[in-house]
């Protein structure tokens, strides 16, 4: 014969009844304190994350993911509240690596003379598409992105890229990326090394000690990790659209990485859909263009006068001896090696 229901059994009955009717009556014998308890728990319901925070973290994760893949950040499915700003960051990242490519595109385009801002930009555009005149180079650049002007919580994403290149297809690219909190402490570090010996590409992720091998693409500009990946979709696109979408102004001259440069302010785009152009907070560009080679040595982006991205070449050397082992890669002990060389691209 069954006795009186336990407190837990009474509570179960009440919970089920309350699920259907919030004002359900308490079963006989159940402490009325449960009503206050359940109401009290209801008061503890946590809030949703603030959209600003969620969007900022999404961007930070995208930057981290980009470091893992060796690619520039691209959010394939950015949150709706962040999508407006995503092209901005993609542009920043593009700029961060493009400067290196532009350095590689060393072209002599004549002396300084008197030149307009529009001509400087035109010659810089030519330099991006005619990489010639060197055998090899070693270049280092740094990039810093402030998230606050983009609606983030004050974090900075800092990266440094060093690239060794020897024609025709040997290169090594080492990337370190650090996310720094608003208080200045490092929140995360990541790194990626990619190497080509002209036939095989090694991609090494430090974080999970993984090496991926694949064949080098034979199509010029087709290899995202090659020496000039950015030419196809980065600042070259910006420079091409400058005559139509920007109003370049010569702002002066400065020295960058020991090189004399022109400072050209492009302002913000007048065209929709280009680097934040036609948005309510358009992104303005300023470029430092090498007076000798017309290569871009520094790029700064700002919103409403507040700088959020700076990319600067800190060192560049042409036609210097580069030891052969730079262009090969030996997986570290314990590394997981995934070989995709036998597969179709």
């Amino acid at each position: 014969m069954r006795g009186q229901p336990s407190e837990e059994e009474r509570l179960s009955v009440y919970l089920a009844a309350r699920a259907r009717d919030p004002d359900a009556a308490l079963p006989d014998g159940l402490d009325p304190l449960y009503v206050a308890l359940l109401d009290g728990l209801g008061e503890l319901l946590p809030p949703e994350p603030e959209p600003r925070f969620a969007a900022g973290l999404h961007r930070r994760l995208a930057a981290e993911a980009a470091a893992l893949t060796g690619d520039r950040p691209r959010a394939l499915a950015p949150p709706r509240h962040a999508s407006r700003w995503w092209p901005v960051l993609a542009g920043v990242a593009t700029a961060a690596v493009l400067v290196v490519a532009l350095i590689g595109a060393r072209v002599w385009l004549g002396g300084e003379g008197s030149v307009s801002a529009a001509e400087i930009i035109e010659r810089a555009g030519t330099a991006t598409t005619n990489p010639s005149g060197y055998r090899n180079f070693v270049v280092t650049e740094t990039a810093e992105v402030q998230t606050a002007p983009l609606g983030g919580s004050g974090e900075q994403v800092r990266s440094e890229v060093t690239r060794w290149y020897a024609a025709p297809g040997s290169w090594r690219r080492e990337v370190t990326l650090t996310v720094v909190g608003a208080d200045g402490r490092a929140l995360s570090n990541s790194g990626l090394t990619s190497v080509s010996d002209g036939a095989t590409v090694w991609l090494y992720r430090l974080r999970d000690n993984t090496v991926v091998l694949r064949p080098l693409s034979q199509a010029p500009g087709d290899d995202e990790l090659g020496p000039f990946p950015e030419v196809t979709g980065g600042l070259s696109s910006l420079l091409e659209q400058t005559p139509t979408c920007y109003a370049p102004r010569l702002r002066g001259a400065e020295t960058v990485a020991g090189r004399a440069t022109w400072v050209v302010n492009l302002g913000a785009s007048r065209c929709p859909g280009l680097d934040g152009g036609a948005s309510d907070r358009p992104v303005a560009w300023t470029l430092w263009v090498d007076k000798d080679t017309y290569l871009i040595l520094k790029a700064v982006q700002d919103i409403d006068g507040q700088v959020f991205a700076t990319t600067t070449v800190t060192s560049v050397r042409y036609d210097v001896p580069i030891e052969a082992q730079r262009f090969t890669f030996n997986p570290p002990p314990g590394a997981r090696v995934r070989d995709f060389r036998g597969r179709a691209p």
Binding site: E8, S12, A19, A36, E48, S188
Partner: protein, 201 residues
């Protein structure tokens, strides 16, 4: 993201309809492992539940944001180590460890006694002070629950579905329901001792 009913919510206490189905999660994980840039899809799905869970642990927005950031950065970094299984369980494990780590660096939450002090000080309107003290008492009682019971209640408050909670705690949904019920009974006992009254004042 759909927030499912949970313990404490007036509208429902029993398990809500299941959240995202496992195949969807598996597809997202597979995509993210193949291309980490796809991690954003997984993030979008779980940032709400993870944030709300973290918020419950700290009771403060800034700390919840720090913890949530840590959780997803660790998840992204650990994608390659994730084996087939429950994504909520994986994230919950990371979140729980993250909370423990961050808590070590923070001062502890107010205790029940400190809450009573607030009520006694009379520095704020009496009603607000009493409400604050009651909430503190409830939080303290919640914190004193056995880990699995506490998780069952808190994940429910954070909007995790019954299926997600079951996966996270590696229990059946029936077992999770039992855990919640026992947790409520234990909470009631603690609060009686702390001087709670049914009238809620």
């Amino acid at each position: 993201m759909v927030q499912t009913p949970c313990v404490g919510e007036r509208t429902a206490v029993v398990d809500a309809p299941a959240g995202p189905s496992p195949p969807d999660d598996a597809a997202l994980v597979a995509a993210a492992r193949a291309d980490p840039r796809q991690f954003g899809l997984l993030y979008e799905r779980y940032v709400g539940p993870v944030y709300r869970y973290c918020y419950l642990q700290f009771g403060a927005r800034a700390a919840a944001e720090d913890a949530t950031s840590e959780v997803f950065l660790k998840a992204l970094a650990g994608l390659s180590g994730f084996r087939d299984g429950s994504v909520p369980a994986w994230l919950f494990t990371i979140a729980r460890h993250t909370v423990i780590d961050l808590r070590r660096k923070q001062r502890p939450h107010r205790s029940i006694d400190e809450g009573a002090e607030i009520a006694d000080r009379g520095a704020m309107p009496e009603r607000l002070a009493v409400d604050a003290a009651r909430r503190d008492a409830l939080r303290a009682a919640l914190a004193a629950l056995p880990a699995d019971q506490r998780a069952a209640v808190e994940l429910g408050l954070a909007g995790w579905s019954g299926e997600q909670i079951a996966g996270s705690l590696k229990r059946s949904r029936g077992a999770v329901y039992l855990l919640r019920t026992r947790a409520l009974a234990r909470l009631a006992k603690s609060l009686r001792r702390a001087g709670w009254s049914p009238e809620g004042a």
